[in-house]
């Protein structure tokens, strides 16, 4: 099908003060630093990459098995395997810069000081956006920051003091009230919230009477969690005044539209990349088609357009 120039929709979006050429961002942990995907697609054509979480020290990750297949999704417990901030600055950041990636750098830690130190190290770099992973449920340090609004507030406020560019806080769905968590992030000085991270779960092998993954529990992702994510995005959109980056099981252009309608300004795509290596490219082209077919001029006008009953 051929679309005339004038029918091509404007795909650009803004998340607070952040301008993205299109709303599709690769979700942290499903795309590494883009090295593998660079063989199959042009990284500079994506809205951005939420690059794999980096920690102060290198982490070797969890013992395998780290993955289990579930109905319409998968559980993983990789354990934040990453080269640590030093090697990240030497090797991974330059790679992303050279490839024209719009970088949203995810950071993770065990203490408030960890997050502050990571933000301090990234402040003098070219990284335009920081995303705080407060929710990775896999690393054994007790309660995750994201599960307690008071901790969300404390760590966001501390990072805000040393980071002067856009700050996104990634929220965990493993909490009673997602609104309270979003409120805490906002009070702490976050410019946007990204949600949802994976849902804590378990898979069991009845023959061995053991959990399938060595970590016992893991994070559930994929289409199985999409309804949970949509509900949470919609709740925050209606109750907290803060830009939203939505994610959870997005695997088609229609899924992207659903998240935008629910109130997201942009979206992240994770698990879909693991099934189709060029999923983001395909979804972007289908989104473009959908907008043209529906005669929608700008993707931005979809945000929050959901009409509740």
């Amino acid at each position: 099908m051929i679309y005339h120039e004038r029918t091509l929709a404007d795909l650009s979006v803004t998340v607070g003060t952040v301008n993205l050429q299109n709303p599709l961002i690769a979700a942290s942990g499903c795309f590494g630093f883009g090295r593998e995907a660079a063989k199959f697609l042009d990284l500079s054509e994506l809205g951005g990459i939420a690059a794999k979480a980096v920690t102060r020290e290198a982490r070797c990750g969890n013992e395998p098995p780290r993955v289990a297949e579930t109905a319409s999704g998968m559980l993983n417990a990789v354990g934040l395997q990453n080269p640590g901030i030093d090697r990240y600055l030497q090797e991974e950041l330059p790679f992303m810069e050279e490839n024209g990636v719009f970088i949203i750098q995810n950071i993770a830690g065990n203490t408030v000081e960890d997050y502050v130190e990571l933000a301090r190290r990234l402040q003098p770099t070219s990284v335009p956006v920081l995303e705080m992973n407060l929710s990775c449920p896999n690393v054994k340090h007790g309660l995750s920051f994201g599960a307690d609004p008071a901790l969300v507030l404390e760590v966001t406020r501390a990072v805000r003091r040393v980071w002067d560019r856009p700050l996104w806080v990634k929220l965990t769905p493993n909490i009673t009230s997602i609104i309270e968590a979003a409120d805490a992030a906002k009070s702490g000085g976050a410019d946007a919230v990204s949600l949802i991270n994976t849902v804590l779960g378990m898979a069991i092998d009845i023959n061995s009477r053991r959990p399938v993954i060595r970590n016992n529990t893991g994070g559930l992702s994929g289409p199985a969690i999409k309804p949970i994510a949509l509900r949470m995005v919609s709740e925050i959109y209606r109750n907290v005044e803060i830009p939203i980056v939505g994610m959870g099981g997005i695997s088609s252009a229609a899924d992207v539209v659903e998240f935008l309608m629910a109130g997201a300004s942009a979206v992240q795509i994770g698990t879909a990349n693991l099934i189709h290596p060029t999923a983001m490219k395909d979804i972007l082209s289908n989104l473009r088609k959908w907008l043209a077919e529906n005669e929608i001029a700008t993707v931005r006008e979809l945000s929050g357009s959901l009409m509740l009953w």
């Binding site: 499903c30 590494g32 063989k39 289990a68 319409s72 993983n76 990789v78 395997q81 693991l274 290596p277």
Partner: protein
């Protein structure tokens, strides 16, 4: 990896995902099947020891070793042991069905490492070894093959292995076959019969193995004792097959110290590793 299109200035990326058409399905024994798939690009590039990742009826793809390649026809074979829903749906595919396939993936066996190869396998690990032996035959490289199975009814592809390797031994632990015991009985038997390594410089000999962990451990330990190099192909639970997710990790050594190891990806750095880099707990 990427070429620049002179006319448009745009980069051309090699396709990773291919539609593959089923051209033949063969049942090998009670729960093992061989599919022949047509996907010319994969057939053209596939190297022995590499794998593909095929769409199944369940959420994740199924990583399967490439068992044989017909370059002229643009087809390749994959062996499937029915274990669960995903593999069952693949075994039931009909001729003409088209499924999305990623590949060829991973690092295969290094067939230039030596001039004489002993190929050792067991269980579903025998499938990629068929392609290894066929390629060694094509290159006229001296070879012998030893396989271990639980019982003779589990033997698969005997004829194909006999055709690809002049010396082949099958052992069974149940004791009702010519060679009784685990795969090492087959190894000793075929080495005696073929004299493959007799009087040959150890540096010219190598072992290539694929199969269950205890088997790989035994083969690697024996090869080390013999002073012969050994490459092994590993399996691990995998999500993407292309290095994005970091779930299919295995401990791999990068130095002599006890802490000189890292988790490496079976899908990218593997599935074939030098045996001395792998831990066998």
């Amino acid at each position: 990896m990427t070429d620049v299109n002179q006319a448009s200035g745009a980069k051309n990326y090699p396709a990773i995902e291919h539609p593959a058409r089923v051209v033949a399905v063969r049942q090998l024994n009670e729960d093992n099947f061989m599919l022949t798939l047509a996907a010319a690009d994969i057939a053209r590039r596939a190297e022995p020891g590499q794998f593909i990742d095929i769409e199944s009826s369940t959420f994740l793809r199924r990583p399967l070793g490439i068992a044989s390649v017909d370059h002229e026809a643009g087809t390749f074979d994959i062996g499937i042991q029915v274990k669960g829903e995903g593999t069952k749906s693949l075994a039931k595919l009909e001729v003409g069905a088209v499924r999305s396939v990623l590949g060829p993936l991973g690092q295969g066996f290094d067939l230039k490492q030596a001039s004489r190869f002993l190929v050792v396998g067991g269980g579903t690990g025998v499938y990629p070894l068929l392609y290894v032996l066929e390629e060694l035959k094509r290159r006229k490289v001296e070879r012998a093959a030893a396989f271990g199975f639980r019982s003779p009814k589990h033997f698969i592809l005997e004829e194909a292995f006999h055709t690809a390797s002049s010396f082949t031994a099958f052992s069974s632990e149940s004791g009702d076959s010519a060679i009784e015991g685990n795969v090492m009985s087959a190894v000793f038997s075929v080495l005696t019969e073929s004299k493959l390594f007799d009087g040959i410089d150890k540096a010219a000999c190598a072992v290539l193995a694929c199969g269950p962990h205890p088997m790989l451990r035994a083969v690697a330990a024996w090869a080390q004792e013999e002073g012969v190099s050994c490459q092994i192909s590993l399996e691990e639970r995998m999500a993407c097959g292309i290095g994005y997710c970091r779930t299919c990790s295995c401990q791999a050594k990068h130095g002599p110290g006890p802490d000189d190891w890292n988790y490496e990806r079976v899908c990218i750095e593997g599935p074939v590793f030098p045996a001395e880099r792998v831990f066998f707990e």
